[in-house]
């Protein structure tokens, strides 16, 4: 067992945790996006509400979601640990450790992953407090009845539509998505580098997919609050 401790306390092992949890979270972000695009379906919320009902009641999904919460926390805690370790060992004040700076090396995103991650975490707290908490732990939501369902189900669609009438909530979402874009821009390709998956044969493809995802995912998400606000 000692080897596992050695692995997970080593610098590369801690980066491995970031890499694997990060890739898992990216896959979640994609699935979550596909599901939530049903908010754009103009059917008074039928598609989205029945989907939300399925996602909160299916035993398999419920089990996977426990893993998701754990990985979000692990990614955040491990990331902050690495940030503080690096801050302590950098030999100065991070990127600006030299008095004169005439040349900027490395992308802005790569040097601000902790800041971007913290923004995303704050966004997640607002986001989950508003929808996830209300859906799962309160009876604040109105109920609606659909054919084929024995009992009325929670009307999350209306809750979301109401929330996105508030300009400040739309603004919080856009800031969160902006942070996500830059976090993914570095994170996706960095995850593969940490795993050691790099070769001139396929690394340009990985980098290309990373940039594409970091643009498309946040843009597609951003459509939801903006469309709801102007609807």
């Amino acid at each position: 067992m000692k080897w596992i401790i050695n692995l997970l306390t080593s610098s590369i092992g801690q980066k491995l945790v970031m890499s694997l949890t990060g890739l898992f979270l990216i896959s979640f972000v994609i699935v979550h996006l596909i599901g939530n695009l049903q908010l754009l379906v103009d059917d008074g919320g039928y598609a989205f509400n029945t989907y939300a009902y399925f996602m909160t009641n299916n035993p398999l999904i419920k089990t996977i979601s426990l893993g998701l919460y754990f990985f979000i926390l692990l990614h955040a805690v491990q990331g902050l640990l690495i940030y503080f370790t690096n801050k302590k060992k950098s030999g100065g004040k991070s990127a600006s450790k030299y008095a004169v700076r005439t040349y900027e090396n490395g992308s802005w995103a790569s040097k601000n992953m902790a800041l971007l991650g913290t923004l995303i975490l704050f966004f997640l707290c607002v986001h989950m407090g508003d929808f996830w908490y209300k859906m799962k732990f309160t009876d604040d939501l109105a109920m609606v009845t659909y054919d084929g369902y024995d009992q009325p189900i929670k009307d999350l669609y209306t809750r979301v539509s109401v929330a996105f009438q508030e300009l400040w909530i739309v603004a919080v979402y856009l800031v969160g998505l902006f942070a996500l874009a830059f976090h993914l821009m570095h994170g996706f390709s960095s995850a593969f580098q940490t795993l050691g998956l790099r070769h001139k044969k396929y690394t340009p493809l990985i980098n290309g997919i990373g940039i594409t995802l970091s643009v498309i995912i946040p843009l597609a998400y951003a459509v939801i609050p903006i469309w709801s606000y102007f609807k």
Binding site: W3, N6, L7, S10, S11, I12, G13, Q14, K15, L16, I82, T85, N86, K88, K89, S90, G91, G92, S94, A95, K97, Y98, A99, V100, R101, T102, Y103, N105, G106, S107, S110, K111, M113, H186, S189, S190, Q193, T194, L195, G196, L197, R198
Partner: protein, 248 residues
């Protein structure tokens, strides 16, 4: 050409240190170190303490002439050590800031001189081949793939100057360690100990107090030997692989 130098002066590691300005008359054909020699001769003739800086071969292969020039390890010219940097890269009237490597694992000894023993400790932990490999073998006596040989040779050009850690916002020595691991691990003689070497060198690197690599890529831009971060991927791959496939 007339230059104004802002040089970091610090009498020892516990001293706070600070910039001191000097005016120097240099020639554009001089190397940067020759310009520093002019400054020191002037300081000595004025009975002042000369600026301490390291230098040895002055032909770009020893890795000792380490200075951060205007915020860039080894100065503005790509793929060049300070001794190979010439004053024609600067203009008359320029102000040049000169600082030591700033990395936690490299404590400052004096002025621009830092203690890079931490890199030696990483080598001592496993950056060698234990068996006697004898005389240079006959050509083609030991088969090796050309791709591997070239990659090993590229990694072997690392001169251990520490510019990678100096450029890194995290003070990480991953580029150095990975270059040594790739250099030895890709060659037939070094392959035998590769897995355990990787574990030992990474453990030592962590112990020396270097930061973690966050794939910023500043190291490969500033490396005077243009070592690629492909080596870091190989180090990651080898380390994770060795953890999964050795008894330790």
């Amino acid at each position: 050409m007339k230059l104004k130098l802002n040089v970091w002066r610090q009498s020892n590691n516990s001293d706070k240190g600070g910039f001191v300005s000097y005016n120097v008359e240099a020639d554009e054909h001089m190397s940067f170190l020759e310009m520093m020699d002019v400054l020191n001769e002037k300081l000595i003739s004025e009975k002042k303490d000369p600026v301490a800086f390291e230098h040895d071969c002055r032909e770009g292969i020893c890795g000792t002439c380490n200075m951060v020039i205007n915020g860039r390890p080894h100065g503005p010219q790509k793929g060049t050590t300070v001794c190979q940097l010439h004053m024609r890269q600067f203009k008359d009237g320029d102000t040049i800031a000169i600082e030591p490597w700033r990395v936690d694992a490299f404590p400052i000894i004096k002025d621009l001189v830092v203690d890079r023993s931490s890199l030696d400790h990483i080598i001592q932990a496993g950056g060698y081949i234990s068996v006697n490999t004898g005389q240079a073998p006959d050509g083609n006596a030991i088969p090796i793939d050309k791709e591997e040989a070239s990659a090993a040779f590229d990694a072997a050009t690392c001169i251990g100057c520490g510019a990678c850690a100096a450029a890194c916002p995290n003070g990480s020595a991953m580029l150095f360690t990975s270059a040594k691991v790739a250099h030895l691990g890709k060659l037939p003689q070094g392959k035998v100990e590769h897995k355990k070497r990787v574990q030992k060198m990474v453990a030592q690197m962590d112990k020396e107090g270097f930061g973690f690599c966050s794939n910023v890529g500043a190291c490969e831009v500033e490396c005077p030997k243009e070592i690629s971060t492909e080596n870091i991927a190989m180090l990651n791959r080898s380390y994770l692989g060795s953890m999964m496939s050795t008894n330790d």
